[in-house]
Each structure stands twice: as C-alpha cells, then as structure tokens.
C-alpha cells in the first residue's frame, strides 16, 4: 500500500499546517488553557480565511457545496488540524466549518429544507442524541426512550446522556424505541426542534474534557409530528450505526495530531534540558521513550491511512476503521504520557498543552465505541470470514 502523498494532498497538508501554526497557536497563548472557543472577532476572521482558501465545510459532500475531499485527504487534514491545545475536541475551533449531521443527507427534501440546508449555511446547529443512561456501547438494546403514536404525532418519553452540544442546538436527532422489538429493529430516528415542549437539557455532565461538554436530556410527553421521522419507522438503528462506522477514521486521525505535536515538544525539550551533566536526549531512558513514541505515531498513522484508502477505493473497511480507531486512540495516549514523563514537573502544569491532551485522549479510548467494542467488531469480521 502506497502512503506517499500526491501533489494536491501535500499542498493541503502544508497549507493546513501553516494555518494552525501561524493563526491558531498564537491565539491560544492568550486564551485560558481550557478554553473551548475563540473571541468572536477571531472566529469570524479565520472563518473568512478558510472560506477564501476553499476549505470551508470539509465534510460537506461536493454536490452540496463542499470541497469534495476524499477520506484519505480528510484524514491527513484531521491529523494537522488537531496539532494545537484544543485540537483534539475542537480542531481549529471549528473555523473550517462543520458538515451538520451526516444522516440528514438521507432526509426527505422537505426535511432538508427545514434542517439540512440552514445547517450548511451556518444558520442552525444540530446534535446527535443516541446514548442513554442504560448504556452506549450497545445502543440497539440499551435504548429505553419510548415513543408511541397518537394520531399524526409521536409522543416521546425518556432520557439521553453524554450528548454534546444539545444546550446550543436548534434541533436534535433523537433515537427512540417505537416497537416491542427489544433490539435493532425497534428503533426510530426523529428530528426534533429543541424548543419543542417536553425537550429539556437538564444539566451539564462534567468530564475530563475541557471543551464541548456533554449534557443530559430528558423528554417528557414530547409530541413530534410523524413527518419528523428520519428514514423508515423502526429503521433508526441503521442510521445510527452508519454514523458510528463512518466516524471512526477521522476520529482516529484526530487522535494522532496531539501525539505528533507532543513528540516534537519532547524532542525539543530533551535536546535542551540538562540533567546530571548532559542533555536528556543523551540518556538512553529518554531515547527509548522517544523511539517508542515514533513507533506508536507511525503505526497509528499507517493504520488510519490504510483504512482511509480502503474507504476511498470502495472496499470493505469496517475492520480497518475499527483497528485504526483502537490503535490511534491508545497509541496517542501512550505518546502523550511518555512526553509528560520526559518533561517532568512542567509536563503536568497548565503552562503546556500536554496535560489537556492527556486528559482528553483518555476519553478517546471510550468515545465513538470503546477499544473493547472495536475488538468485538474486528473479531466478528475475522472469525466470520469476511476479512481476508
């Protein structure tokens, strides 16, 4: 498999790297170390820049006005865009734009007019409400939010947990059980305006993550028109599952950026910091950590690019995407941990971004499917014979 970049990819990577180093990193020097947003003026200025560069709305399909990047190029950009303090969960503070909820590309034209197009224009925000207090790794069986039909409406009751962005969203994609089937065939996806009576954002769920906090939702006798069903009645799990598979490659790629930046910082520190009469870089204990970092980074990068290339060529990529997600999230956690060790005391202070990456990378081993679920997916494919 050839992992060399073509001319266009190299140009995009170089441009993104310069943008992060010259536009994002200097602003972070002035921000609170746990900040999750830029000043509005900076946000507007940088968004104007990315629009003029033709990079706005990276994940929007070309037919909807996006730049039409393939998965490999998008993964390469994700690696670059996450190389700053807030980069893991808020790469470049969103100035490259979002795609909205990818599921809405499958919506009816009426639904697109109401939710998708305003989202692509930056006028509306959506959130994805799948996980419940009863569990997130096995959503098909864990969903207890219930919906029953009453005339032309559905009435929903239940709760959701760890939902990002619900407090600022104009609408939510909510999954609810709508039949007696206890598994994947009894779940329906609803698009619900967040000002609908009965839609409550009850609290912020505080975690290790400094930005993009999660929330807990509660639905009480929430009445939703039947026209708000996305896709087929009881066909919601396939919609949710599609997102979970699709997300793994860029999610994995985003883990690698902080590891690369941490390694650069550790090398710089090791060359310039003396102890016991010589630079840290001359000590074998440090050298081996630097080497182990490099092995982890390259391993993760190769796995991500392999999965991306398979996706781009139309091949099955589920196993590769699961492997990439598992390896990138775990390898990057190890790299940042070693880099903190190399830095010593200053490594755990908020003077450096290492402590934030260390905290936030811990979540990456759970988010979008924990390592154990990735292994489960791979085991099914390998033992089931679909992986050759």
């Amino acid at each position: 498999m050839d992992f060399s970049l073509n001319e266009e990819q190299q140009m995009i990577v170089d441009t993104t790297r310069r943008f992060v180093q010259s536009e994002i990193v200097p602003l972070e020097d002035e921000l609170d170390p746990d900040a999750g947003s830029l000043a509005p003026d900076d946000q507007d200025r940088l968004t104007t820049m990315t629009r003029s560069m033709g990079f706005y709305g990276l994940d929007i399909p070309e037919e909807y006005g996006g730049p039409g990047l393939n998965t490999t190029t998008r993964a390469l950009m994700a690696i670059e865009m996450s190389q700053h303090r807030a980069g893991l969960y808020n790469p470049c503070y969103g100035v490259f734009g979002g795609a909205g909820l990818a599921q809405l590309y499958e919506a009816t034209e009426t639904q697109k007019e109401r939710w998708l197009y305003p989202t692509l224009r930056g006028e509306k925000k959506g959130c994805f409400a799948l996980t419940e207090p009863s569990g997130g790794s096995d959503p098909a069986r864990a969903i207890q939010t219930r919906g029953f039909q009453d005339g032309d409406e559905w009435v929903l009751n239940g709760s959701k947990l760890y939902i990002s962005g619900a407090d600022k969203a104009d609408y939510a994609l909510v999954f609810a059980r709508t039949s007696d089937d206890p598994g994947r065939n009894g779940v329906t996806a609803f698009i619900i305006d967040t000002d609908t009576p009965g839609f409550h954002v009850r609290r912020v769920v505080h975690t290790l993550r400094a930005t993009n906090y999660a929330t807990e939702l509660q639905f009480e006798e929430m009445r939703v028109p039947k026209e708000n069903i996305l896709g087929e009645l009881n066909g919601g799990f396939a919609i949710a599952n599609d997102r979970l598979s699709r997300q793994r490659i860029p999610y994995a790629a985003g883990c690698i950026g902080p590891a690369i930046r941490a390694q650069e910082m550790a090398i710089d520190w090791a060359k310039n910091r003396d102890a016991f009469g010589s630079a840290l870089a001359e000590k074998q204990a440090i050298q081996w950590m630097i080497v182990d970092n490099e092995i982890d980074i390259r391993h993760a990068r190769y796995c991500v690019l392999e999965a991306a290339q398979k996706a781009d060529s139309g091949e099955r990529f589920r196993t590769e995407a699961a492997m990439a997600k598992l390896i990138a999230s775990e390898a990057s956690s190890r790299v940042v941990d070693r880099c903190i060790q190399i830095h010593g005391g200053v490594g755990v202070t908020k003077d450096l971004p290492l402590e934030r990456w260390y905290r936030e990378l811990r979540i990456r081993r759970i988010g979008e499917g924990p390592s154990e679920v990735q292994r489960l997916i791979m085991a099914r494919d390998i033992l089931g014979g679909s992986f050759k």
Binding site: D32, P33, D167, K168, V201, R203, V204, T207, A210, Y213
Partner: protein, 111 residues
C-alpha cells in the same frame, strides 16, 4: 447532586479573599441583598487562582460587591458555563457586564 451553587454567602473583603487557597474554581459575587453581580471562574491564567479572580471582582464592582460564594473545581470552564446557563434560566439575562456571553452560552431547563 444539585447543580446550583447554593452554598451560604460569605462576606467579600480582602481578609476573606486572602484566606482562600489559591485554587481553580468558580464563584458568584453579589450585593448585600444577594443579587448576583458576577458569575465567574478562576482559571490557570489567574496567578493565585480564586484569590486573584475575586480581587479583580472587588476592583470591578467596588463597594457594591459585598458577598461571595465559591466552589473549587478543575472543571472550571464547563462549570462556569453551567452556572451562566442557570443564571440565564433563573433571571432571563446575565449580569450586566456579562451580557456579551449570552450569545455564546447554551440553554438549560433544570429540574
């Protein structure tokens, strides 16, 4: 666990502030009637954590600032946003000098 910062108010003066530990956290500052003047946080940019942040509040509000209550937390950013949202929910708007934050923070409908 309640999400409101509903600890008893303490007198805000230089003695009470200097006795606090220099930690990260969130706080409310109020006038003598308990009307909240500021919902703030002490982050890593504050040299002495919550002490520095409250000293700034005293300079900002002068003699109007009479009371305070606080909570130490390393999750000061998300907790601060939560307290702003609660204030917005309870009062319909944020304290005057924080109105600019209304466009940034989200909306909560707590129990």
């Amino acid at each position: 666990m309640g999400i409101r910062l509903d600890k008893p108010w303490e007198r805000l003066d230089s003695d009470s502030v200097s006795s606090l530990q220099a930690q990260l956290g969130v706080y409310q500052v109020a006038d003598d009637d308990g009307n909240v003047l500021s919902v703030g946080y002490a982050g890593a940019k504050h040299p002495f954590g919550i002490r520095s942040a409250l000293e700034h509040e005293i300079r900002l509000h002068g003699k109007k600032a009479m009371l305070f209550r606080y909570e130490f937390t390393s999750n000061y950013r998300s907790r601060w946003d939560e307290l702003l949202m609660l204030h917005l929910h309870d009062h319909g708007q944020l304290p005057d000098h924080q109105r600019d934050e209304e466009g940034r923070v989200g909306r909560l409908s707590p129990n």
